[in-house]
């Protein structure tokens, strides 16, 4: 049994996403597909899963070409996919999600709930996944949701399973558990494609590593032949410095102090539940934690985007708990939001317009009721230069820029002031290595200029590389505090809610 992608080319308007890509997976084999964001991994997998039709090339199983026009065709051919953004209906039960699309029924389409439940229990037991078929998805932690996705794939008797960035939502300890599950699948003869940008994981788990860059497969290596630096170089196309260089922090006065903050989420549950923290000038405090433990609500509350239910937020001693986003912004708080496309930028606006989004009402960009576009453009030209934004001009729509350059536009807009406090949420999510390096160095530079910096990221590596102090958030509270010498395992335990922190470290 062998799955092959042969000469796959996919042309999007203006972008050659896949350029004559070849890939093959055998039974009981784990192939890691490495590449930067935008290298074409997702396009390739979407073709394999029938979501895209390739411009040319074919997919074969045992040398028989497949007709893949929809995910249904891929499923029928024995190809399963665990998507990075889980494809689960949040209000359904586990069993309902597993059977969706291939439901066991009695007469007139009546769902056979008992058979569904039995099926989930059986698969869950066989691979020791430990999932309750009657639990509602939205009540489950992401780690368990991922197992539901795996059960979904197994219930359809997939012989080849694609995992798209499976570890990005897991804690280090959950990653270990996940690897055990994958090993179980492998022992069962499944062929596995493991898509990642985490080099260490690929080295640990893969039998073979395929590296993609700019739509092409540029190398195929065995894990024992290479190390992380070599892989990074293959991925990016030049030697990469994996370490963020920074001096010892010199913390000064407290800039941000949060006391007993309580914030509700959209479902009116307490997402932040009595949280307290302090950030001093000249230090970077990183908030680690599994997504969905209140980080989003915390940041929205600190920046004035979400009203808190209780507690006090002080900036340089002043109570800003109920201040508006603009009032907080005016107190020199820079905010790099979690989702750059939703809340960081207005995508149908030009670079210039986005650059002055926070200052359009002030001189020199504003002349009373009239805009001074000349001044706005001057500022944009200066910042594009200063922050290394790669754009043909400041007059192009920001939606045409790459993720990394979009993020740099936001950083330029937010940092171009005498910043007192930086709040950056997922500052490098989904952007290329070059931009990551640049944004990291910029954040460290702000710290060295005696700004207080609060970083929220679900990438533990990023938190550990940047932070002088690490706080772990769990269920809306700080579950542990670590200094930069802590190990991922210690932090990982705290991310799962076990009391760690100073006592443990």
């Amino acid at each position: 049994m062998k799955l092959e992608l042969k000469g796959i080319t996919k042309q999007f308007p203006g972008v050659l996403a896949n350029d004559n890509v070849n890939l093959s997976i055998g039974e009981g084999e784990i192939v890691a597909l490495l590449g930067e964001n935008g290298a074409g991994k997702s396009t390739l997998m979407n073709i394999l899963y029938g979501l895209y039709t390739p411009t040319s090339g074919e997919v074969l199983i045992d040398n028989q070409p497949l007709e893949l026009h929809s995910p249904g065709d891929a499923i029928a051919a024995g190809i399963g996919m665990v998507h990075q953004h889980f494809m689960l209906v949040p209000v359904f039960t586990v069993a309902e999600n597993v059977i969706l699309g291939d439901e066991p029924t009695k007469r007139i389409g009546w769902l056979d709930a008992r058979r569904a439940r039995k099926m989930v229990k059986e698969i869950s037991g066989r691979y020791s996944l430990d999932v309750d078929p009657d639990a509602i998805i939205e009540d489950l932690p992401v780690g368990i949701q991922q197992r539901v996705e795996i059960i979904k794939v197994l219930a359809r008797e997939a012989r080849f399973v694609v995992f798209d960035e499976p570890t990005s939502v897991l804690t280090p300890n959950e990653v270990e558990g996940f690897f055990e599950i994958v090993a179980g699948l492998k022992a069962d003869g499944k062929g596995i494609i493991f898509i990642s940008h985490k080099l260490g994981e690929a080295l640990e788990i893969a039998d073979r590593i395929v590296i993609m860059r700019r739509g092409k497969t540029v190398a195929e290596v065995l894990p024992e032949e290479v190390d992380e630096e070599k892989l990074a170089e293959l991925m990016v196309g030049r030697p990469v410095d994996l370490v963020v260089h920074r001096e010892e922090a010199k913390p000064a006065d407290v800039v941000l102090s949060v006391e007993n903050l309580v914030v509700l989420d959209d479902r009116l549950q307490r997402a932040v539940d009595g949280l307290s923290l302090e950030v001093r000038a000249g230090e970077i405090v990183g908030i680690a934690g599994v997504q969905g433990n209140g980080q989003t609500e915390l940041v929205e509350s600190l920046t004035g985007l979400r009203t808190s239910l209780g507690g006090v937020v002080r900036l340089n001693g002043e109570d800003i708990t109920t201040k508006s986003p603009r009032a907080i912004h005016k107190r020199n708080v820079a905010h790099v939001p979690e989702d750059r496309q939703k809340s960081g930028l207005v995508l149908p606006f030009t670079v210039t317009e986005n650059i002055v989004l926070d200052s359009y009402y002030e001189a020199p960009v504003s002349r009373g009721v009239q805009m001074n576009w000349g001044a706005a453009r001057d500022r944009a030209v200066r910042l594009v230069e200063e922050y290394d934004v790669r754009t043909p001009s400041v007059d192009v729509l920001v939606s045409t820029l790459s993720g990394g350059n979009q993020q740099k536009v936001i950083v330029a807009r937010e940092f171009d002031r005498d910043v007192a406090l930086v709040i950056a949420s997922q500052p490098t999510r989904g952007i290329d290595v070059g931009s990551i390096e640049y944004i990291h160095s910029r954040i460290v530079q702000e710290r060295d200029n005696q700004s207080a910096v609060l970083i929220v990221s679900s990438e533990l590596d990023e938190i550990m590389a940047l932070s002088d102090r690490i706080l772990v958030m769990f269920e809306g509270k700080i579950a542990g505090e670590f200094d930069s010498s802590a190990t991922p395992t210690e932090i990982g335990l705290a991310m799962l809610g076990s009391q760690g922190g100073l006592e443990a470290s």
Binding site: F92, L111, P251, N260, V262, L275, L471, E481
Partner: protein
């Protein structure tokens, strides 16, 4: 280290949650209503005045069942219970029960109001309850049509137009070839308008609100024009006859309940059957599971091989059929002639009933009955001759709609993808 880990069980002082603030508002309103009942209904009546409620209709098997009460005494009891419930709500210790207390309180208020209105006279309670069920039919069917569409994430604001056009077609075909032809024609009309909405919103991804409004305006204009030009010239095309009541043996003879539920035309029975079918269909069958998944997370449905577009087309057209059936009720059962703008907003009230019913068939039934009650109240009070001007009474259903849509009953959760076109990339 500077940051403080939160103490294990710190009692954090908080501002009121939205649910608590709501409880305060509702509790206050209930107490005020209690005062109002006490003052106006209670003290406003002379002591010893009696209200008589008739519990049987002429021609029923059990005759002359009446309930006679001391109006003032009942008002005081109602005021006391309402004040007590309002006080409980204001304590905010169990905010989950706010809606239950509110529902009981409003029911009592309605009772107090009827007692006051019927003072020194008699009031046909069973007649009003029967009207409640009858008048709820078009609202409920409209709401079910909306539910069919919104469960697959297409907003159907065109219910009004579907009802109106179907009522018109039902009249003409019913007059020409009999009521059954009218009924089928009305349902086909509903399906066609559903298909138009489906094509506009699914295929061409036109804003669903705009697509719906366009259909409504088109329906109103077309039917009004034809009514004036054709029906006024040919009156025999505007007298389709009606589906008459079919009394169910034995059950139909039970006092009160018999008249309410078991002595009706086929539309009423069909409505109840449809509610049951949709309830089980949505939550216990493959069709329901797939429909709901398409409304909640269409991409997830797509990735397991479900054809999102096909499911949407099918349900939106079926929703049109249901609205067409409701339109037929208006001209083939309720009145047997068509008039311009006959629906007068029933479709929109149906949309409100769908929200009030929280996108669930059984909830929709309850919501439909509430609106039916409001309309029945308006009609019967007009007959009774209260000091309230009839213009105010005729506002009742719309006021209830505003209160409901404004979220007095709390915010319900619509299907997650509601109103969003699905774009395959």
């Amino acid at each position: 280290m500077t940051a403080t880990a939160t103490p294990a069980k710190a009692e954090v002082k908080t501002r009121a949650t939205p649910a608590e603030r709501r409880a305060t508002v509702i509790g206050t309103v209930m107490v005020l209503l209690a005062v109002f009942v006490f003052w106006v209904f209670g003290l406003g009546l002379e002591s010893g005045v009696r209200s008589t409620f008739n519990l049987s209709l002429p021609g029923e098997r059990f005759q002359n069942l009446v309930w006679e009460v001391n109006a003032q005494w009942l008002s005081f009891v109602v005021a006391a219970i309402m004040a007590f419930l309002g006080g409980l709500v204001l304590r905010r210790s169990h905010v989950k029960w706010t809606n239950v207390a509110l529902a009981i309180g409003l029911g009592l208020f309605a009772l107090g109001f009827l007692t006051w209105a019927a003072a020194e006279g008699s009031f046909s309670l069973v007649g009003m309850l029967r009207s409640t069920v009858l008048l709820s039919v078009p609202v409920t069917l409209g709401a079910l049509s909306g539910l069919m569409c919104e469960r697959v994430a297409v907003i159907n604001i065109a219910i009004e137009g579907q009802l109106l056009t179907a009522a018109f077609v039902g009249t003409i075909l019913g007059s020409a070839w009999g009521i059954w032809a009218g009924l089928i024609g009305a349902m086909v009309t509903g399906a066609l308008l559903g298909a138009v909405l489906a094509v506009l919103s699914i295929r061409y991804r036109i804003d669903q609100i705009i697509a719906g409004v366009v259909i409504n305006i088109f329906a109103l204009g077309l039917t009004s024009f034809l009514a004036r030009r054709v029906l006024s010239q040919a009156p025999d095309l505007n007298s389709p006859g009606r589906f008459t009541s079919i009394k169910i043996p034995i059950l139909g003879d039970i006092p009160v309940i018999g008249s309410m539920f078991f002595d009706h035309n086929i539309f009423v029975y069909a409505m109840f059957l449809l509610i049951i079918a949709l309830h089980f269909g949505l939550f216990y069958t493959r069709w329901g599971l797939r429909s709901r998944s398409v409304g909640e997370h269409p991409k997830a449905a797509d990735t397991v091989g479900i054809n999102v577009y096909r499911v949407r087309y099918r349900n939106v057209i079926l929703g049109g059929v249901i609205a067409g059936f409701g339109g037929a009720f208006l001209t083939l059962a309720q009145v047997s002639r068509f008039e311009e703008n006959l629906t007068a907003g029933i479709g929109f009230i149906g949309l409100a009933a769908m929200i009030f019913g929280r996108w669930r068939p059984l909830g929709v039934l309850g919501a439909g009955l509430v609106f039916g009650f409001a309309r029945a109240l308006q009609q019967k009070l007009g007959i009774l001759g209260t000091p309230i001007p009839s213009e105010f009474l005729s506002m009742t259903p719309y006021i209830v709609t505003i209160i409901v849509v404004a979220g007095v009953v709390g915010r319900a959760r619509p299907p997650a993808a509601d109103g969003q076109p699905y774009i395959k990339d």
